[in-house]
Structure formats: C-alpha cells, structure tokens
C-alpha cells in the first residue's frame, strides 16, 4: 500500500516506540488471572504514556484526535508487534468513554475521563438472566429515595467485572408504558455496599465474565447519565462504540496473526498440498474482505454516510471469519489440538486453536448475536416485513 509521508512517518514512529516498549513473552505469563491483570494495567499505562492508548478520543486528549488512517496505522503496528490486546481497559476506553463523550454531563466527563487514563476500569452491566437479546426486558429495579437510587437485581456476562472499579448499569425505574421507556442509565461504584461479583467458568477454562448481584445498592442521583427513563437512548451510544473501531482493530489483528496458519502449514510439511493452499488462500481473502469492510464502515462513518445495518454487516463478517480462521487452525493442528494446552487469557488469535475456536463464539453471541444482526440486516436494510410483535402463550 502506498501511503502519504505523514502516515509513513507515524508508522515508523509507532514501530520504533513498540520496538523499545512492547512487552515480550506476555503470552506465557497470561496463564493466570493475577499476572494477566497486572500486565494489562502496566501495558495500558505504557500506551497512555506513549500516546497510543486512545487514538479514537477527541484531540484535546493526549494521544487522541487521530484520523481513521492514523488509527489504522497504529492498530496495524500493535498487531504486527503482537502486543496484548487491551481487554481490561476495553470497556473503559470504548464503551464508557463513548457514553461520556456523547451523553455525559460536563461534570461526569471531568470526573471520569481523566481517571480512565489513570487506569480506572469499567465494566458493562446490561445483560440479565432473562434479558439477553431482548435487553429491554431487563428487570433490575432502581427506586428513587431522596438523593439516591436503591438498586436490587442481578446482572450477568459482565466482562472483567471482577477487576472493575466502576460499572455502566442499566436499571428499570418504571414498569409503565413500553419497556424501553422505563430504563435508566446509572454509573455504579463496584465497591459500593451490596455489590457481589462472582466470576463464571467458561468452556475454554477462562473466567472472562461474571455475575453481579445487587442488594440494596445505593447510587447517588448525580451518577445518572441522561434523564430518568432515557437510559435506552444512552445505552445506544454505549453499544455503538463497539461496532466500528473495535472491529477494525480486531480485523487487523486477525490479519496480523495469519502467520500462525502459515507456520502450521510449514510445520506439517503441507506447502505443496493444493487443498490446504486453497483453503488458506480462501481464508486470507475472507480476512482481507473483513479488513476492507471494517475500513469502509469507518470511512463512511467519518463521512456521515453510514446506513442502518452497516454495522451489522461488519460484525457478522468479522465473527464468521474469526470462526473460519480458528477452524482452519484446529483442522491443520490435528490431534495435537485435542490435548489441553495452557490458554492465554483475553486473546482471540493465540494459536491454541481449540481455545481460539471456543473463544470465537464471543463475537457471534455478544454485542447483539449473529441472529439479531441478521434480523437488523433483513428488516432495516433489506426492508423485509417484520413479524407481528405479540406472542401469547397458550
């Protein structure tokens, strides 16, 4: 790719910085959660110091105000240097930050955004046992009592909640009218009285997400984002943050990890196997498509030309291709992959193919499942008629 002088300059700058600063051998140390969390905090702090942690934030922030092309260069280089993905600070720098930038009060911005750069971490408390795809059905109840909301209920699948300082919390403040109308958006301190966090064991041996139990938790009224009953609209800002920038980063990381398949082909002496080469060539091209559509989406977003459903196209492309990638690795790895090997916490393209395969479900299920995205594409983009809404149990 030919690129302008400035971008090439930035690339050299980032590369030079990474040569000196990128952590090495981190995969081996990511086999227990304490080491993982510690190293994640250190790496985040280093990136903040280097000015590469939040290129998507506005320009008044150190390291912010980067154009799409610049962000792309930074993420390409982070992927190329095989740095750890910023999982622990992911919700903070994307979800929380987007929510504050778009809907937060000036006070909230001033209070929380600088803290994020200092390493304060956020988790997202949206889903509940009976409110998954149908998020608006959430039942966690908040009652206003003077200057506080008193909250009772249960959240689930909250990523990294065991390490989080704060929580983006959706609660029900009213049961009248349409279910979206009674939702309110609160900012909760995870150390508040009445908050219990219980990590959930996952199929690949990780504990990436948690249950959060809320028992008479008091949250001051000034910790509300938007008005009471406006939480659904605010939540859209939170959710939208996930569907562009992140997918571009992840797409480039997946492309950057293609050498793992190449290595596997070489290791197995399959360099002349036409069938394997075809499957590899196909996968590479699918990954190139994934990067291209993620790029195009961001460019459209910058140009104000985003269409309803575009984000769903990007997400369903990435999540499917991620699955294809891990399946090709699992296949080429053969029986070796069926013996348990240590996992690397919080990485999607580790080369532990069974673990990568199991992890790839995160993207077909979380953030609006593949099926929900299909509904959006069909109904809102292709204008296929909606089904009648109500269902009465017989």
């Amino acid at each position: 790719m030919t690129e302008g002088k400035e971008l090439e300059g930035l690339r050299q700058e980032v590369r030079g910085w990474l040569d000196a600063n990128a952590p090495r051998g981190w995969r081996e140390s990511y086999d227990n959660h304490e080491a993982f969390a510690q190293s994640q905090r250190e790496w985040f702090a280093k990136l903040v110091e280097g000015g590469y942690a939040i290129p998507h934030w506005p320009a008044e922030w150190p390291g912010g105000g980067r154009s799409l092309a610049e962000q792309k260069v930074i993420y390409e280089e982070l992927a190329r240097a095989d740095t750890p993905r910023l999982l622990l600070s992911f919700v903070s720098t994307y979800h929380a930050a987007s929510t504050f930038f778009e809907c937060g009060s000036e006070e909230q911005k001033a209070r929380y955004l600088p803290k994020i750069l200092e390493g304060e971490t956020w988790c997202q408390g949206f889903s509940e046992p009976n409110a998954g795809s149908d998020l608006a059905a959430l039942k966690t109840k908040a009652e206003r009592k003077g200057d506080v909301y008193v909250v009772n209920g249960q959240k689930v699948w909250s990523t990294m909640a065991q390490y989080a300082d704060k929580c983006l919390l959706l609660v029900r403040t009213s049961s009248d009218g349409p279910k979206q109308a009674g939702i309110t958006y609160l900012l909760m301190d995870m150390k508040a009285k009445g908050v219990t966090v219980r990590p959930i064991n996952q199929i690949q041996g990780d504990q990436e997400f948690c249950e959060i139990f809320l028992d008479d938790v008091e949250i001051p009224v000034e910790e509300r984002v938007g008005e009471e009953g406006q939480g659904w609209a605010v939540a859209q800002a939170t959710l939208a943050s996930e569907r562009g920038l992140t997918l571009m980063e992840l797409s480039y990381r997946m492309q950057g990890a293609l050498w793992r398949i190449a290595e596997l082909i070489r290791k197995n002496g399959l360099e002349e196997d036409a069938g394997v080469l075809r499957d590899f060539g196909h996968l590479v091209t699918r990954i190139d498509c994934t990067c291209a559509i993620a790029d195009q989406f961001l460019q459209n977003r910058i140009d104000g030309a985003e269409r309803v459903g575009d984000a769903s196209l990007v997400k369903n492309t990435y999540s499917r291709v991620l699955r294809e990638y891990s399946l090709l690795g699992t296949r080429l790895g053969g029986i070796d992959e069926q013996y348990q090997a240590p996992i690397t916490f919080g990485d999607l393209n580790t080369g532990n193919w069974m673990a990568d395969f199991m992890n790839s479900y995160a993207w077909t299920i979380a953030g609006g499942s593949e099926e929900v995205q299909r509904n959006i594409i069909a109904e809102r983009m292709l204008e296929m008629q909606r089904e009648p809404k109500d269902w009465v149990a017989s």
Partner: protein
Amino acid sequence: MIELSELRDAAQKAFPADELIPDRDESWKLIAEMGWLMMPLPEESGGLGLGRDAVTAINLELGRVLSSAPLVPALLTVQAIGASESLVDRDSWIERTCSGEYVALNLLPGDIALADAGTLSGTLPAVPDADMASHVLVFAKGLSALVPLDAPSISVSERKLWDESRRLFDITLDNCAVDESLMLARDDASHDIANRLHGELQLALAADCLGGANAALDMTVEYLRTRKQFSRPLAMFQALKHRCADLKTHIAATEALLWSRAVDADASVTDLGALKALAADVYRFVTEEAIQLHGGIGLTDEHQCHLFMKRAMLNLSLGGSGDELKERAGRQALETYSA
C-alpha cells in the same frame, strides 16, 4: 475529475435495471457513445484518464443488467494497444478502438505456438463476440500482436452457452503469419502487458459478479416482499430473512474488497485473482439461493432468475477456476506471512 457516483448514475440511466440482457449491438453503440471505451487510457493519448475504480464501477453496473456487450475484453485490448511501443499507427488504432472498433481477446488461456517461420498456430478459447470483432489480440511466447479475423488461416466457431447473456467463440490459428506492423510488443514488454491484462480481467470479472449478485438479491427480496403464502408476505418468515441477510453480508464484504483493490496499485495479479474467485463464489451462492427462494417460478424459462445463475456459473470458469486462483493466493500468503 468525474465522481464515481456520477458515473454509476449515468450507467444506471443508460442501462436501466428492469431491462436485462439489453440488445448487444445497441448496447455497444451506446457504450461507445458514452465514451466508456476510452476510460482507462491516459488523457495525452486521447483517453479519459480515469482510474481502475471508474472502470470497476461501469463493469459492476453492466453486470447488474447482464450486459451482453463485450466491454470487458474491449477495455483490456484498448489498454494493450495504448501500452504498445511498436504498433504502427498506434494513435489511429486508439481512435478506432475507442470509438467502437472491437479487438477481441480470449478469456481463458490459449495454447498458441510460434513456429520458426514466425507463424502462429493453436486455439484461443472463450473469445467473447468474435463475430463483431475486426481483430483478435494474440499472446504467444515472446510476442503479442493483433491478428485480423478475416485472414484465411483463421477459423472462428461458436458453441452455444447456457449463459444466454453472452456469446463465446473459439478462434483457431493455422500457421497464421504475423504482420510486423500489427506487432504490439515483444519479450518482457509483451509479458508485462499480458500480466497486466490478466489482473485487470480478474478485477473486471469480480465487478461483473458483484453487480449481478446485487441485482439477483434485490430481485429475490422484492419477490419475497410481495409474494404471499399463509396469509402473509414470505419476507416475514425469519428463516428466509436470515438467508437473505447472509447473502447481503457476503456481497457487502466482498464488494468492500473490490473497491479497496480497485484503488490499490500494489494489488498483485494473485490478489485480484483471489478477489475474483471469491466474488464468483458469492455470485454463485446468491443466484443458487435466488432460484430456491423463488420456488417453482424460479425454474421457468420465462422468469429472470436463471439468467443470473447461468452467468454466475460461467463466471466461475472465466479468467481461471477458483481452485487455481485460491491455490495461488495460498502460495503467495505462505510467503507473505512468516513468523
């Protein structure tokens, strides 16, 4: 600078979506009038100096209406002529071809042998619309030249395709003498032109595939939205929605790569071939589903569904098979991606 969107609008006006397989000769006239044949040539040699993305836009739009005019090979031969250093009267050749004289090209590899006496023999398979061509561009080992189709040592035969939107001919050369004044290039220069044309062909076919795939999906969704069974539009059934959404996702992702490779001067022939292979897979998948989702009507000759499916199937083969192109892409990636 012409905007891509303006170009696409103009193409959609000239070739409206509801008129599939427009008459070939009329289309050809229109294409020449629109100036599309001169798109890729630089302005100093009488062209419009438009980039590959402009050519891609037109090829995509013409794929949408299953165009039967040989714009794809014509644009390639115009570029070859423009790149020639040795063609006598090159400027007049440029003028002739840009205004509608058609120089044909084979879309599958030929087996042309060069005898010591300097004559050419062998077959050029899959040459579109040879019946309306004055010459064919022939690549042989170490040379490329234009060969007039009325030469006695040349025979042209057509075999009827399933794809009724296209006509392909086999051209056989039997000790055909090469006219020195029609020589395009020799050795490395000839090889470079062949290579470049091969890449452009892949890109053009990919655009044709995605134009057609878009049209076939639009048609299918429209059908499902209007056809009622079980007292509701078929489009309401989620099983069908999800299939359409997946088709849309495949098209969108592949189209994103199409536009990105169209402006990437560094994309290799292998990259463009891999794109074409994927685009043809997508086209096949979309049109295969289109017939299924139309039910019985999709199997009738009268309905338009099959026209897209047949073109998609032909596109799988043109420019090389997917197996071959993907294998090459895999080999290239093995070099690119090392630890």
